[in-house]
Amino acid sequence: MSDNLTLPAPQGTSGTPADALLEVKGLTKHFPIYGGFPIKRRVGAVQAVDGIDLTVGVGESVGLVGESGCGKSTTGRLITRLLEPTAGSITYAGQDITHASRRQIAPVRSEIQMIFQDPYSSLNPRQTVGSIIKSPMEVNGIEPEGGREKKVRELLELVGLNPEHYNRFPHEFSGGQRQRIGVARALALNPKLIVADEPVSALDVSIQAQVVNLLQEVQRELGIAFLFIAHDLAVVRHFSQRVAVMYLGKVVEVGDRESIYNRPRHPYTHALLSAVPEVGVDSEAADRERIRLSGDVPSPIHPPSGCRFRTRCWKAQDKCATEEPPLVQLSGNGDGHLTACHFPEDPTTGSRGDDIVMDPALMAMEEGDTPEA
């Protein structure tokens, strides 16, 4: 983690940023489900995001991780106001933008930008690269020095593309190049916060590294804050100073990178980290704990009572079903390392006495193997 030493001042490694750029409180998004005949009425709701708190400091990069369907992307879309929040508040630089209309939000619109997951659908196939990058400037009436075209060429150069590609169309580029164009478009408005919604998960591994490095460079040089949404823990570890772990619409653990990756407390974080395959000599690999969960994430339409992870947790007790654990700083945790758990794990990722294998099929398979070994 020697990268930390090179980071500029405002991005301290401490969990609580000095200067909050974006503050999210109790953010909730419920997608209603309608049913019934002949008169449709609301029969339930998908509780995609259910009361999350999150802070992003100036120039800080925050990672948001969790398995598929836990509400990561919805959170990103709520923050960029592509979706209307059901409840909670979003404060950007002291201004409440939770329910701001398009006109009201206009002054800060250019400061919050987004990088999308799929580089094949995020660029309009009928527009040239030049007009794609130029259009945010046109919308916001920004007239940079030397004209918009010059600025576009500079941006193309900044993201590592040939400025001569100005007049080309997206279909002439590879996935990685397209994602660079997406980055250039996001940078066109000199944003202060970029929400990157799984920006590399659609790219192949060799290109992923290039794009992540590009984003990191952009973040350092231009001092842009990032909310980096990903399910790849290694990428987040590489990119983010702070990490929030989500499970079924809730943040279960949040803290600086060091705490989350080396001293996790929430059982789910343990499980998530232990699921990352690691290449190493056998003896090294054996040092890590081994947790295998069973089943899927429960339905967000009827989430479990109390702690949402309890249905898959090996430490679950009666209390977990009745009482929802608050997101607090546990004793032994570092500053700003918050965990929502009644029975937290030890702050280590080292191997424990025996493996935790929740999956009955896997267990049966392994028990069958043991005598032969």
């Binding site: 398009r102 930008q113 987004m114 799929d118 309009n124 009928r126 590592g160 040939n162 007049n167 190049q177």
Partner: protein, 348 residues
């Protein structure tokens, strides 16, 4: 910036369609890299499709003939209204025999009447055909454009805004689709005409045209609206629309700049299919007796008359029929070619 990035982006041309002939790059000192738009690629593919090019030429020729009808009739020295068989001015050169049938072979072909003459009246078939094409084509273009515009506007609104707007536009579309079209054309034409003119007076031709326009327009825009709506629905969810929203673009700008250029393809294809079918519908109306009436030259009316004469003079129908078959065939094949050119993946 890292070096692999440079290498990735510096190739002269990336992902060009291998099947296309190379475009001559401008051979100046500094090479300007210019991408080809999907439209340009489509044009290139279209140019290599021989059927498409021939059909396009045929269709253009028809429009030229229709536009130049007065010139052509000046060349032939005939006009569509003169009764060459009854007019005393033309007694020196009789075109009809005593039974009112054309003299000579194949419906009375001759140097002065290129496509023969009509039985009973002796009107010139060539003049009636070129003027009839003029009426039919211009009516069809007008009606089709109106249908397209209505369909596009309603489809865009319904597809983009969704929700309640989409629901009500959808129900109105369903309502209009539920009409039995052919019956309503016949039933409504006199009703609409009666709106404007007292039924006891004679209806001016332009009013008949307006009535046809209104009836065909009201009962014909639904397919386009459905098509545009479904295309817009899928486009609306694409991330480039979200990107435009994040940059603060207004709904009007998003529809105009992001969505509309992407629905041009289905619109163009649909247009090339709708136009010939509209021509057939107009011909059908005249044939059924609710469209244009005597003496307005019209394609459909030629068939209506031809049906009367067909027992005595089958040759009368030959040229108008051939012209219509060629036109509709060429336009439909053109539609196929346009679709193929836009979508290279749809093999035959």
């Amino acid at each position: 910036m890292s070096s692999p990035a440079k290498a990735e982006g510096s190739g002269p041309s990336v992902a060009l369609e291998p099947e296309l002939e190379p475009v001559p790059e401008p051979a100046k000192g500094e090479t300007t890299l210019e991408g080809r738009s999907p439209g340009q690629l489509m044009w290139q593919r279209f140019k290599r499709d021989r059927t498409g090019v021939v059909c396009a030429a045929t269709v253009i020729l028809y429009f030229v003939i229709a536009l130049a009808a007065p010139l052509l009739t000046k060349l032939s020295g005939t006009d569509p209204y003169t009764l060459y068989g009854q007019d005393p001015t033309y007694q020196d050169s009789p075109v009809l025999d005593d039974f009112g049938l054309p003299l000579g072979y194949f419906g009375g072909l001759s140097g002065s009447h290129w496509f023969g003459v009509e039985p009973q009246y002796g009107r010139d078939v060539f003049a009636m055909l070129v003027y009839g094409m003029r009426t039919s084509l211009f009516m069809a273009v007008g009606i089709t454009v109106l249908m397209m515009v209505t369909g596009i506007v309603l489809g865009l609104i319904g597809g983009y805004f969704g929700g309640r707007t989409d629901y009500w536009i959808g129900r109105v579309t369903d309502f209009f689709l539920a009409f039995p079209q052919q019956l309503f054309f016949i039933a409504f034409m006199p009703v609409v005409t009666a709106f404007f003119v007292d039924p006891r007076e004679e209806t001016p031709t332009y009013l008949r045209a307006v009535a046809m326009l209104i009836v065909l327009w009201l009962l014909g825009w639904m397919g386009m609206a459905r098509l545009v709506r479904s295309t817009v629905l899928s486009l609306r969810e694409r991330e480039f629309v979200e990107a435009a929203k994040v940059s603060g673009a207004s709904p009007w700008r998003i529809v105009r700049k992001e969505i509309l250029p992407n629905v041009v393809t289905p619109i163009l294809v649909q247009f090339t299919y709708t136009l010939p079918s509209t021509i057939l519908t107009i011909a059908f109306l005249s044939f059924a007796g609710v469209g244009f009436v005597e003496p307005t030259p019209d394609w459909g009316r030629l068939f209506a008359n031809g049906a009367k004469y067909t027992e005595q003079d089958p040759a009368f129908l030959f040229f108008p029929g051939l012209a219509l078959v060629i036109f509709v065939l060429a336009f439909n094949l053109l539609g196929d070619s346009v679709r193929d050119a836009f979508d290279p993946k749809s093999g035959r």
